[in-house]
């Protein structure tokens, strides 16, 4: 057809030479079939185009005909109706905003968790230890209590508890990070140099990786940072979306002496970990094969990759590998806003990480924390030879309240991470020992017998900043089968009574328990007679305000033969961090009571089980506030 057309145009001006000597049918006869076909085709085209036009016009008419938007009833701000959360848990679109008072809002600020004086914070970045100071950088918006204009905030501490705020480490001032100086990690080289890799969002909204380093390595405060003159050092490779390439990890040494860095991404719905190799941190080569991939998990943000010892209780430098070492691969899943991890082995020759249990692979198995917790990142603390974990704890109240109170988000108390040698299948997270220096007055309650339906008030003085350790003894042999299908998140919380649960602590409760936050164990028994223990944090009645999240968080927790049930709670105003069995299952909750605040907050022990009595031993400490202040730079 094409060649005919070409010939057609070339013969427009030059009539065909009458050179055919062969048979010529009458010209009208010859053209008739072609003409007929073209005619039919043409009219079909015309017809279908006409139909298309008409349909289009008809649609336009539809649009014009519809009148004004739906009439809505006027809402009253004070009455409490069905609520909607402007955080990720949605209900209806009718909003009842609680009339938060200044007293209620200012109570929400924590006493000993890291948070900047005001505005929005998210991911922890580049944690490291250098010349006597622990450094924390973090995603920060200097203009508002909502996400945006992201810069790197900076704070230092000698003990990870008391902090000094420093000036911003990096601001979005280059074309390659003008739309955001996003998350990154630090690598400390053997010669002591510090290398920071971070994601920049460019002027064209492409995610790239950039290199930065301290202006003066002998400055213990690491005040000033220099961005490498030839940034970016990594750009999205072919096949990877320009908005699917972020959060570089701490580097580790490969077998050939080259450094390796991991970056999370996705291909369609498969979450992947890309790995780059470098010798100088300025030029990188993408390894052909990904380190690992898990279908259906979506985009992997904030990938973390680190070794844990299976025999010792100390942490390991990120480059360590060997026979008594397992590697944790962790990812923050963009699709469900939770942090997941899995234990496995890393073959550094092939750069492949293999999960110990493919059924509990990254993103489909264990979560780092079963509550409000995201973008977590570990670092190796060479000062005390520990692997430490930071996690971003966002708000679960409404953004309107955040804007009112002028701030949003805190960081978790740093947790020490070790391999759980007793179970072999998970890590343990435990608040760093340094937090115990805030303990002041101690209240001990021993052998408190809690019969079914029992509630015991514990006098602990001011109950808004507490460290609580509680153990529970319970006899489970007597009953055959109970609540086999129990699940914290679908249960009715502490009001759903079963034979062996719930029982535990109630914190941030007012005297009449109109508001309360129970954290409890719930034991179930399957038809096989095997007991399972669930650990839950119940926010369903945590506040009379309706514009806050009120879910029950939690999961099951391994309890080994002969182990006592134990839980530890760090209560700090609007955050409760709950640890079961030494940190085998962890739940972080944000709570926003309106009544159970200041001196009205109380602590109770409870047993809502119907079939067993529980004996509790509790030690409660009041916690002093941390000193979190601006560094007196004038004297530096």
């Amino acid at each position: 057809m094409a060649t005919d057309l070409e010939h057609a145009t070339s013969t427009i001006y030059s009539p065909l030479p009458d050179s055919d000597n062969g048979y010529h049918p009458p010209s009208s006869e010859r053209r008739r079939p072609i003409a007929l076909l073209s005619g039919i085709f043409l009219s079909m085209l015309l017809f279908s185009s006409l139909i298309a036009l008409i349909l289009n016009q008809h649609n336009q008419h539809d649009i014009d005909h519809v009148k004004s938007p739906l009439v809505k009833p006027v809402s009253r701000g004070v009455s409490h109706g069905v609520s909607e959360k402007s955080n990720s848990q949605l209900l209806s679109s009718d909003v009842e905003v609680y009339p938060w008072t200044n007293a209620m809002l200012s109570w929400q600020r924590t006493g000993f968790h890291f948070q900047p004086p005001k505005n929005w914070m998210n991911d922890p970045n580049g944690p490291l230890y250098h010349m006597g100071w622990y450094h924390l950088f973090y995603q920060y918006n200097r203009d508002a209590a909502v996400w945006g204009n992201i810069t790197w905030g900076h704070a230092i501490s000698t003990d990870l508890i008391n902090w000094y705020h420093l000036p911003f480490a990096m601001v979005p001032d280059q074309w390659y990070d003008i739309n955001g100086v996003w998350t990154g990690s630090a690598t400390i080289l053997p010669d002591g140099r510090i290398v920071m890799l971070y994601t920049g969002d460019t002027n064209e909204e492409v995610q790239v990786q950039n290199l930065a380093y301290p202006a003066n390595l002998s400055d213990p405060l690491l005040l000033d940072w220099i961005k490498y003159s030839n940034n970016p050092v990594m750009v999205p490779p072919p096949g990877i979306g320009t908005k699917d390439f972020r959060d570089p990890t701490t580097a580790w040494l490969g077998p050939n002496g080259k450094w390796r860095v991991a970056i999370g991404s996705k291909v369609n719905k498969t979450g992947i970990t890309l790995v780059y190799e470098t010798t100088d941190f300025t030029s990188y080569a993408l390894l052909d094969e990904v380190m690992h991939a898990v279908p259906g998990t979506g985009m992997w943000e904030c990938v973390d990759f680190y070794p844990v010892s299976t025999t010792e209780s100390n942490g390991l430098d990120t480059s360590v590998n060997g026979p008594s070492v397992k590697h944790v691969l962790k990812s923050s899943l963009d699709d469900d806003k939770n942090d997941y991890y899995a234990l496995g082995t890393y073959d550094s020759i092939s750069n492949k990480w293999t999960p110990d249990d493919p059924n509990l692979d990254v993103g489909i198995g264990l979560r780092v924390d079963y509550g409000k917790y995201y973008a977590s990142k570990t670092f190796y603390d060479q000062n005390k030879q520990r692997r430490l974990l930071w996690g971003w704890i966002g708000e679960t109240d409404s953004e309107a309240a955040d804007i009112l109170k002028g701030w949003a988000s805190v960081q978790s108390i740093p947790r020490e991470v070790v391999f759980d040698r007793k179970t072999g299948t998970n890590i343990l997270q435990w608040p760093i020992k340094e937090v115990e220096k805030l303990r002041s007055k101690s209240w001990v309650y021993q052998k408190v017998l809690l019969e079914p339906g029992c509630l015991v008030s514990l006098d602990v003085g001011l109950a808004t900043q507490l460290d609580i350790i509680a153990t529970f003894d319970i006899e489970t042999q007597t009953i055959e089968e109970a609540d086999a299908g129990y699940n914290c998140t679908t249960s009715g919380g502490s009001f759903s009574r079963g034979a062996f649960g719930p029982f535990g602590l109630v914190v941030l409760a007012d005297e009449t328990r109109t508001e309360q936050t129970p954290v409890y164990f719930y034991i179930t028994k399957g038809s096989d007679g095997v007991a399972r223990t669930h650990f839950c944090a119940d926010q369903t009645k945590s506040s009379t305000a309706s514009d806050v999240t009120k879910l029950v968080y939690g999961s099951n927790v391994h309890v080994l033969e002969g182990e006592t049930l134990s839980m530890r709670l760090l209560v700090d105003h609007s955050i409760v961090e709950s640890f079961a069995q030494g940190g085998r299952t962890v739940i972080t909750s944000r709570v926003y009571p309106t009544k159970a605040i200041y001196t009205s907050a109380k602590v109770f022990l409870f047993n809502n089980a119907t079939g067993v009595s529980v004996t509790a031993n509790v030690n409660v400490w009041n916690m002093d506030s941390a000193r979190i202040d601006h560094f007196p730079l004038g004297q530096h």
């Binding site: 005919d4 057309l5 010939h7 057609a8 013969t11 427009i12 065909l16 072609i34 073209s38 005619g39 085709f41 043409l42 085209l45 015309l46 279908s48 185009s49 298309a52 036009l53 349909l55 289009n56 649609n59 649009i63 519809v66 009148k67 938007p69 739906l70 009439v71 809505k72 006027v74 809402s75 009253r76 701000g77 004070v78 909607e84 402007s86 955080n87 990720s88 679109s93 909003v95 009842e96 905003v97 918006n141 203009d143 508002a144 909502v146 996400w147 945006g148 204009n149 739309n179 955001g180 969002d201 909204e205 995610q207 908005k243 963009d334 409404s398 953004e399 309107a400 804007i403 514009d547």
Partner: protein, 173 residues
């Protein structure tokens, strides 16, 4: 072969059909986007009012929505200024309304725009959800001061627009 007149017409009509089809496809994206929003008619009105919607992808449509929230917010802020002069007795509630609508225009809108452009739609959703909340807060503040609101229409309009845009953004999640 002689110059084929029918063939040229064929070509031209093919071109015409392609253009029509592609224009229909863009309308189709807009219609599909508006399906499942709390008010598809309002959604269509917002998107079609902006000529950029003809060539926009879903993110572009969401950005047009955020612009609509911004424009509504600015319009309401002007309305509040005028009301403060004509209805002095409503001053406390109007002051509160000005505060919350500034939150919409100065915090929620820029945050949502940034988030959409940089591909982190989850933060954009929060900004639009909050804009709807702020509208409710303004409306409620009249009742709190024992007054009837003169801004019910505007607050309802902001609530509606913000909820529609939020629904558009959720399609990006």
């Amino acid at each position: 072969m002689k110059f084929s007149f029918p063939l040229t017409i064929l070509l031209l009509l093919l071109l015409l059909q392609q253009t029509l089809l592609s224009a229909m496809a863009d309308i189709q994206l807009i219609k599909n986007t508006c399906k499942g929003t709390p008010s598809s008619s309002l959604c269509l009105k917002i998107l079609l009012a902006d000529p950029k919607s003809q060539n926009a992808d879903l993110t572009g449509l969401a950005l047009i929505g955020v612009d609509a929230v911004n424009n509504k917010g600015l319009e309401i802020l002007e309305q509040i200024v005028a009301l403060k002069k004509s209805r002095q007795e409503l001053r406390p509630a109007l002051d509160h309304c000005a505060e919350v609508y500034h939150a919409v225009v100065d915090a929620d809108v820029p945050s949502s725009r940034d988030a959409l452009r940089t591909g982190v739609a989850k933060f954009a959703e929060q900004g639009m959800a909050d804009s709807a909340v702020e509208a409710q807060v303004c409306e409620g503040s009249f009742g709190e001061h024992g007054r009837t609101s003169p801004m019910t229409g505007s607050n309802n309009a902001m609530d509606d627009v913000a909820n529609v845009v939020r629904a558009i953004i959720r399609k990006l999640l």
